[in-house]
Symmetry: C2
Subunit: 621 residues, 2 copies
């Protein structure tokens, strides 16, 4: 291929037949679908159908990087995993930091598509010399940290491993994939670890050192020089407090779950687990992903319990909220512990926290008994119960087996009115951002292609801080409770995020580059030699967003699914927010802007405009 920034190769591995093949990536495809989740979506669309079982051997597990990855560009060491989700049954993507993405790309590939199912546990080893499917008997059954350590011990300290824990092995529906072990990162959402487990694939270990070509090295240097000082100074709060820094602020405006999303004001509790408290009390050091100068990662020293004195990863904002306040737990050390356990088992902390909050409400309402929970009292704020429940989920024991299916299935199984307090969108449990505090978050969660996702529109941070992305092309995002014009912000942000997940950049690059889109476009052009202008850049993001939507449409997803959990639609959180998101009105405006019909299906005209003619599905889908 001509475009720089790409390795030009798709790696295909079939674990059933042990066949390993390489395919060319064309310029045409790269230009149209970029990389990461965009390119992954294209492959997923074409290689699955309505009947594909997410845990069946036919479901492809797609690892993809983009053109900026493996270069020196700031915040560029990320990768995307795309598949059909076993948790939701619809489009799944999850983006992950660390160092795995760059090491994978430098093995010489832009994408890896894994299909089939090994007869016994295996791992895939990729380096400059080639690709091997290897026996993983001695790694299987170990937690993610142990397994990662073992790979480093066995294969050398330079390797990077993306591994699953016991949760992925035993097919917990929201098992994740952990890269870089102990102080690592996760492809948290949608249960991609269970897809990996279903293939009996314990890990993908990478160690590439090939060079990624750059079209305009001088241009790159100029961007880096311009952004360098900004990146180091600007996202100050994030650097000091990590992602958890805003927890008490979010709590104060109601943008935060307390007691399974029911309770409003919980101020004293929030302060005990907010970012600055963690910094003051437990911080050891900061850590970061490849090419990052922000350093939002945290190493903390655990105090008490099984990890007493150990230096482990500190909980991120989502984790602290969902395993903390959402269960009424205000014990910082307890959340540090549950986070550590989730990471070791390989469990998405957002889904886990939601499932435990749900379980506590179910316990209170008599749907789950002490007997179901091996004698545990699942009362609000019972930190020990949260810790034990994480273990039960990780091991699929007692009520943990049910909870490991996600709140939608668990609620349906429990029956009665349990679905009334099961919070999810399209089957995915919500992150710690609340439509009752930001109307735009409501529209974002309702329309994100993977379900309740805060990263596909990512409007909340800009609204809350009163800042906005200068050259986004829509009005500033500063008012939280307006309806008119809200759709346009979400619409444009979804395209920008689609691009960042395809390039693949960390979203925090926006904080560091003066809150502008243009530097991302400059990077793309300098690296590839293409000539994107903002219009084409956003149009490409729109193409990718629509392609994922079409994938879901084919599965029956439509307006009826673009909704929010009941509790977010009608229950006001006393003391923090008195608002309820006017979802229907926002959706009407949004569909119109999107060129989708009243059911939320892209029109033929829109698909032609986006160059997606070949994905037109006909009248009846």
């Amino acid at each position: 291929m001509k475009a720089k920034g790409y390795m030009g190769k798709i790696l295909r591995i079939d674990l059933s037949t042990r066949k390993i093949e390489t395919e060319q990536l064309s310029d045409e495809v790269a230009l149209k679908f970029i990389g990461g989740s965009g390119l992954g979506a294209k492959i997923l669309y074409e290689e699955t159908d309505k009947e594909t079982d997410p845990l069946g051997s036919e479901n492809p597990l797609i690892f993809a990087v983009g053109p900026v990855n493996g270069t020196k560009a700031f915040n560029s060491d990320r990768f995307d995993v795309v598949s059909k989700s076993p948790l939701t049954g619809v489009f799944a993507e999850s983006n992950c930091g660390g160092y795995w993405g760059g090491k994978f790309k430098r093995c010489g590939y832009d994408v890896m598509v894994v299909k089939g199912r090994a007869e016994s546990p295996v791992y895939i080893n990729i380096d400059d010399n080639g690709v091997e499917i290897r026996d993983a008997a001695c790694y299987w059954g170990r937690d993610t940290f142990e397994a990662t350590e073992a790979f480093k011990n066995d294969l050398g300290n330079n390797v990077r491993a993306a591994v699953i824990g016991q949760a992925g092995e035993s097919l917990v529906k929201y098992a994740n994939i952990i890269s870089d072990g102990k102080h690592g990162r996760a492809t948290g959402r949608c249960g991609l670890g269970a897809v990996m487990g279903s293939k009996k694939l314990k890990a993908i270990v990478v160690n590439g050192t090939k060079k990624v070509g750059i079209d305009n090295e001088d241009g790159m240097t100029a961007i880096m020089k311009r952004l360098g000082p900004l990146m180091k100074d600007d996202p100050e709060a994030l650097r000091i407090g990590g992602t958890t820094v805003g927890l008490d602020f979010n709590e104060s405006i109601g943008n935060h779950p307390v007691r399974n999303w029911y309770q409003g004001n919980w101020k004293e509790g929030a302060k005990k687990i907010t970012g600055m408290t963690m910094v003051e009390k437990r911080l050891v050091k900061r850590y970061h992903c490849g090419q990052c100068v922000i350093n939002c990662g945290r190493v903390v020293k655990a105090s008490g319990g099984p990890f007493d004195g150990q230096e482990i990863a500190g909980p991120e904002y989502e984790t602290m909220s969902l395993l903390g306040s959402n269960c009424l737990v205000d014990d910082l050390d307890a959340v540090i512990k549950t986070n550590e356990l989730c990471n070791r088992y390989g469990l998405d902390t957002i889904s886990t926290g939601n499932c435990i909050g749900f379980a506590m409400e179910a316990f209170e309402r008599g749907y789950i008994t002490k007997n179901d929970a091996d004698g545990l009292e699942l009362s609000w704020g019972n930190a020990q119960a949260v810790i034990e429940l994480v273990k039960m989920i990780g091991k699929r024991k007692a009520v943990g087996k049910l909870l490991g299916e996600g709140v939608r299935r668990a609620a349906n199984e429990l029956g009665g009115f349990a679905p009334e307090f099961a919070l999810e969108v399209k089957g995915l449990e919500p992150p710690a951002h609340d439509p009752r505090a930001h109307f735009s978050v409501g529209l974002g969660l309702a329309t994100s292609n993977r379900g309740a996702c805060h990263l596909a529109a990512f409007t909340h941070d800009f609204e809350a801080s009163g800042t906005s992305i200068g050259d986004l092309g829509s009005p500033p995002l500063t008012k939280r409770f307006i309806t008119d014009g809200r759709a346009e912000n979400v619409f444009r942000m979804q395209h920008l995020m689609s691009m960042l997940d395809s390039l693949t950049f960390c979203k925090f690059i926006l904080f560091g580059n003066g809150l502008a889109v243009q530097p991302c476009i400059d990077y793309l052009n300098c690296i590839t030699g293409w000539d994107f202008d903002p219009k084409e850049f956003f149009k490409t993001g729109e193409r990718l967003f629509n392609l994922k939507r079409l994938y879901n449409n084919r599965l029956g997803i439509s307006r009826k699914d673009d909704t929010l959990p009941q509790r977010m639609l009608y229950h006001k959180k006393e003391g923090t927010t008195n608002e309820l998101p006017p979802l229907n009105l926002m959706l009407n405006e949004y569909y119109k802007l999107r060129g989708w019909d009243e059911f939320g299906i892209p029109t033929e005209e829109k698909l032609k405009e986006l160059g997606l003619e070949e994905y037109i599905q006909g009248k009846r889908m």
Copy 2:
């Protein structure tokens, strides 16, 4: 029993064992549950459970009258049928006029509970001399008019028969029961005719002449004297034009379905099928139910087609709207024909019209093909197609089999986005009143116990005319688009309607008695010798409404089911109404007023207040 107005007996018939038994009705039960649908709800609650199959022999089919029935009270000749609905799976009630109710009561019974299943078709004959289960081989397979005629021929002109047609026999899910044949009335909603068919019960033929006791004859005479002139003069429009008289007005404000509830303005079309057009062009005479002086029934002369020149029942408002405008049919004679066909097959015209509107949209969108419909072009406004579809539904042929399952099941079966244009609440298709034109209709349809029902709150007529029920006890119902206070009107109207359906009065009595509640209370007290005041009267209505709710709660019905069809929640009907019902806000106010929890479950406190302690279901339902 001591209370007058009751026969004091419950008739129990088991068609499997052919056992016929009589049970006493106690004063205590009568005072608490009144009669009609209230008493029916009590029996249904106690004699079915979660697992009861609506079409299984164990499902009781309950016919019940109330204390005013069989007396000379105006508008009192009605009866209620209660069961578990095969269409919706939840509480079913349907109220019917004519002359059957009075003749049944005068046989000496207040209630009849039919269980079991006959081996071959039977009918039940009840008169002053007793009850018999008789062979119905020679009536089975005949349409409702033919069967009714045959019963009259065979048993005498004085008998009154409640019969099912071919639709009930073949278990079409919204088959109805027709009383008094050709110029008769129907228990239209919820598929009670299918329950009857599942029992192989073709008809219940009654001919009682016993006297119903009255406690205070002088008081009765005084009420009659006072109301007589009012009843004859007041509901003038209804008397002149029948229920269809308001069709063009309703169309003008958007309170009316056009093109499967999608289209707004259709003025020229509406005028062609409105009540006054029918009066001017086709009216032969008026007819009425027992004890009625309003005469809202219509006999018309059919013109053209199979019924050319015949004098048949004219379509009611709901029928004209759903089989007419909802299918874009503006041909008066075609709707007269389809109405006649529905009555003969024994099909609910509201559900039938909704199913055909749905089928036409499904055809347009490619979900149903010409081939599925035996070569028919199911295009909008194709009157011949509507006529043929009614036949297919009645006979369960071709696509008619699917459509006879109701829109919810049909849409799920068709898959894809079909549920987006399937209009129903709790599985019941909506009547021709639109929440986009009256917010109170939205709250009423969403909370009615049998699903989308306009008669359980019945607010629209009062709002539209700017009149109100003087002594209802809540603010006047004159503004269509306010949210605040709307819940209180619906709340009180639901209690009044619960009482009317239990007494059992025709709801049009309100138009004729100066729009007041007190005359209904006076009737009740004069007949029974009880001493109801307005407070106790409304409290009793509240008890009955809550009992039905509890029945549904036990089946899993909660807030998630108190909703409206998608199309009514977000699609604005251009040219008629620009409003969308703020359902969530109204529901919040409504639950609070009801003393229901956030999921729509009556609290223990409320149930104790209503004397429903024994129906408290515990924390987990």
